[in-house]
């Protein structure tokens, strides 16, 4: 009734960056970031499920961690946490840079973030290697490895995402102040991985 002639694209701000996704299906607004955030909501439910499972195991157990489990060393994971947390601020600089059309700047900040992520992973591998319990030692050990391992996998995926974006940025003008969905997505994802780690660190090491 209140209709007018329709062109969604022009009304809602269609960006050319969306063209490859849309294929031959013509114009519509760039919904990729919205879709990506919806995906992360779904992904957070995976972690929520595992967290709640952890708390249930813990609530049901007579002693937690089970008697005889060596204490977790907190210094190294603490340093790791600081590194990962600060990397969230670092990656934000990449976003600021590309909004000023500064491709070299965004590349630099992405490289720094990747290096910090890699340091985190290396720290985690070091921790794994020096822990006195293995995956099958007891229920606490199993949940510890699966939760941190799952998170580590997400860190790795984040690093690969940034690597992909860097690889694509070789092409002149692939990312600019107007179109930089890849950079935004990698950043949002990295923040997500960061938040999950803060929760995980609190649950496993502090509580």
């Amino acid at each position: 009734m209140q209709g007018s002639t329709v062109n969604q694209g022009s009304e809602l701000g269609y960006t050319e960056a969306h063209a490859p996704e849309a294929g031959h299906h013509g114009e519509h607004p760039d919904l990729r970031l919205f879709g990506f955030i919806v995906f992360l909501i779904s992904e957070s439910m995976l972690f929520l499920g595992l967290f709640v499972a952890y708390f249930t195991f813990r609530a049901v157990a007579t002693s937690w961690p089970p008697v005889g489990t060596p204490d977790l060393e907190i210094l190294l994971p603490g340093i790791n946490t600081v590194i990962l947390l600060s990397s969230s601020f670092v990656i934000h600089n990449a976003d600021t840079a590309i909004k000023k059309n500064d491709v070299a700047g965004f590349r630099l900040w992405f490289l720094v973030t990747m290096a910090m992520g890699a340091t985190f992973l290396a720290g985690q591998i070091y921790e794994y290697a020096h822990l006195e319990f293995g995956l099958k030692s007891n229920l606490f050990a199993s949940t510890f490895y699966v939760l941190t391992g799952f998170h580590g996998l997400h860190v790795l995926v984040g690093i690969l995402m940034m690597g992909t974006v860097l690889w694509r940025s070789r092409q002149e003008g692939h990312y600019s102040s107007e179109k930089h969905f890849g950079i935004e997505a990698a950043e949002v994802y990295w923040h997500f991985v960061d938040v999950i780690w803060v929760l995980l660190f609190t649950i496993l090491y502090i509580l």
């Binding site: 009734m1 809602l12 996704e21 294929g23 879709g35 919806v38 995906f39 439910m45």
Partner: protein
């Protein structure tokens, strides 16, 4: 008054003479057209339906007599496990969300395609390999612990098959999440500007509620599957009591998905019925807002009722009480829908075509399944009938009497849009009668069996149940035969059926405002809404009024 007026360059083609449909080769490739993908889903999942149906007939044949005489006990366990897995993950969910959702949602909201066409295609192409993978497990001994796959049982028998089952469920879950993501974004962001949410067809509301469930609930199942996989393949003890684990945690995680999965399997059917009944009753839908909001209410409540599957799992009393009351509350929004449908049909000028027959059968059969659902929601009653044939009867009244009748109604209703041709009505009615009679013969007596105490999931039973079981088995054969007229009808009508034209049912929703089948990108020009989706009868009363004025 038509809902949309399409300014067209080409003249309207009332009989759909020109062939607009995609080339048949497209159906076998990686197409990003939502209409092609929708039909890919429908056909693929129907094939799995037939396979799952064969498994069900084998189960019923074994149960025809009290002794174990047709298949071994081990095979029997595998048969009902894979039957349920196929029917849920490869038939009802892909057909309703992937098939009808894909085909109809973009058309109904006036969009040219889904928000993410390639993601859409990937979501579909995960399904055939997962299904084949699951079926291949028959070569090494398939999962046999029931579709619920409760540990520690699932960790003890047919480990290879169980591993394949876990992999299959994770893959199908991933596909389901991708589809849900696509629908949410499409429905929220790609409606034509003249269509606010409250003018959206009710099927889209239902799909929105369904997608929310897919997104929120499925990842938890994935988490459960990962932990179960570690227990099975690595030897951890998350769910294994011998290693200090807790099998109840698995049940919670499993049902946190699998109860909402029931709503994933019924909400889209609710949506389709809300389209079909008003169209063929020629009346506006009764209580548009009530039906729309009740979909959202069901979606939310569906997330907090899961432990009613676990009343006999040592669930503490206060928790049982909470889940019992929450479950019964779900009957309220569901009842709102049922009463609205009855009020829609009430006093209408009914067109008793096959689509309408299946639609009305849906309402009546679903009411039976819904009422037995309220019965088993009550803790004392549930403890009595838990794991008996009463539950089998209840779930089949919901998933067959509900979902499958809804799917058939949808197929008869939208087949003309998808192919440009009608399904044959005569054979459609034969199909309907056979399905309705066969279904009720198979499942109605199971209520009695369950109340008498016959356990499910066991190949042999007490001889006192023999008579009723034989009756059920005969009913199931009628049900099997009922698919034959439909199958041939669909194949024949696709190329030879009576031409339908663009809008054979005089429907008002947007999918009927384009050609049948619709062209690539759906509309020649973007449609504009000029009336609500269910404003039936207005022209009729308008005409009467005009006549009265003219006569005076």
């Amino acid at each position: 008054m038509a809902q949309a007026e399409l300014p067209r360059q080409i003249p309207l083609d009332p009989l759909g003479e020109q062939e607009q449909g995609p080339n048949w080769r497209e159906y076998f490739g990686f197409s990003t057209d939502h209409k092609v993908i929708g039909i890919q889903y429908l056909v693929t999942s129907f094939v799995f339906y037939l396979i799952g149906g064969v498994l069900a007939e084998l189960v019923r044949t074994e149960l025809a007599t009290p002794e174990v005489d047709f298949v071994s006990r081990e095979t029997y366990n595998a048969l009902f496990t894979i039957h349920a897995t196929i029917m849920i993950f490869l038939w009802i969910i892909p057909t309703l969300t992937g098939g009808f959702g894909n085909y109809l949602v973009p058309l109904m909201i006036g969009a040219r395609d889904m928000a993410f066409p390639r993601l859409n295609a990937i979501a579909f192409w995960i399904i055939p390999p997962s299904g084949v993978l699951l079926l291949c497990s028959f070569f090494i001994g398939p999962a046999s612990a029931g579709w619920t796959s409760y540990p520690p049982l699932s960790l003890m028998v047919n480990k290879g098959g169980e591993a394949i089952w876990i992999a299959g469920v994770i893959l199908l879950g991933t596909s389901s999440i991708m589809a849900g993501l696509n629908f949410i974004v499409t429905i929220l962001k790609m409606r034509i500007p003249s269509m606010p949410l409250m003018k959206m067809p009710l099927f889209c509301w239902a799909m929105m509620a369904t997608s929310a469930l897919q997104l929120v609930a499925t990842p938890v199942l994935t988490g459960a599957m990962v932990l179960l996989g570690f227990d099975l393949l690595v030897g951890t003890a998350f769910f294994n009591p011998t290693g200090g684990g807790d099998p109840i945690v698995y049940q919670h995680m499993f049902w946190f998905y699998s109860h909402p999965a029931v709503y994933i399997m019924i909400l889209p059917a609710f949506g389709m019925i809300s389209e079909i009944l008003p169209t063929h009753a020629r009346k506006p839908i009764f209580g548009y807002q009530a039906i729309a909001y009740s979909s959202i209410a069901i979606s939310f409540l569906g997330l907090i009722v899961w432990a009613h599957h676990m009343f006999t799992s040592g669930t503490p009393d206060w928790l049982r009480m909470f889940f019992m009351i929450a479950t019964m509350i779900i009957a309220v929004p569901t009842g709102i829908k049922v009463f609205s449908w009855v009020a829609t049909v009430w006093g209408g000028k009914l067109r008793l075509c096959s689509a309408m027959l299946f639609g009305m059968a849906f309402v009546s059969m679903f009411v039976i399944g819904g009422l037995s659902g309220v019965m088993v929601a009550s803790v004392p009653f549930d403890i009595h009938v838990h794991d008996t044939y009463f539950i089998v009867a209840h779930l089949h009244y919901v998933l067959f009497g509900g979902s499958v009748f809804g799917i058939y109604a949808g197929l008869y209703h939208w087949f003309p849009k998808m192919t440009g041709r009608f399904l044959n009505e005569g054979w459609g009615k034969v199909h309907f009668v056979l399905t309705f009679v066969g279904f009720n013969m198979t499942f109605l007596p199971m209520h009695v069996l369950g109340l008498q105490g016959m356990n499910r999931r066991i190949a042999e039973y007490d001889p006192q149940y023999a008579g009723i079981n034989m009756f059920c088995t005969i009913g199931s054969y009628i049900l099997a035969v009922s698919t034959i007229p439909f199958l041939f009808n669909a194949i024949w009508s696709w190329s030879q059926g009576e031409k339908a034209g663009d809008n054979p049912w005089n429907s008002l929703t947007l999918e009927w405002m384009t050609t049948s089948p619709p062209p690539v990108e759906n509309f020649e020009e973007d449609p504009v809404l000029v009336s609500g989706p269910y404003d039936y009868g207005h022209t009729y009363y308008q005409d009467l009024e005009d006549k009265a004025i003219a006569q005076s």
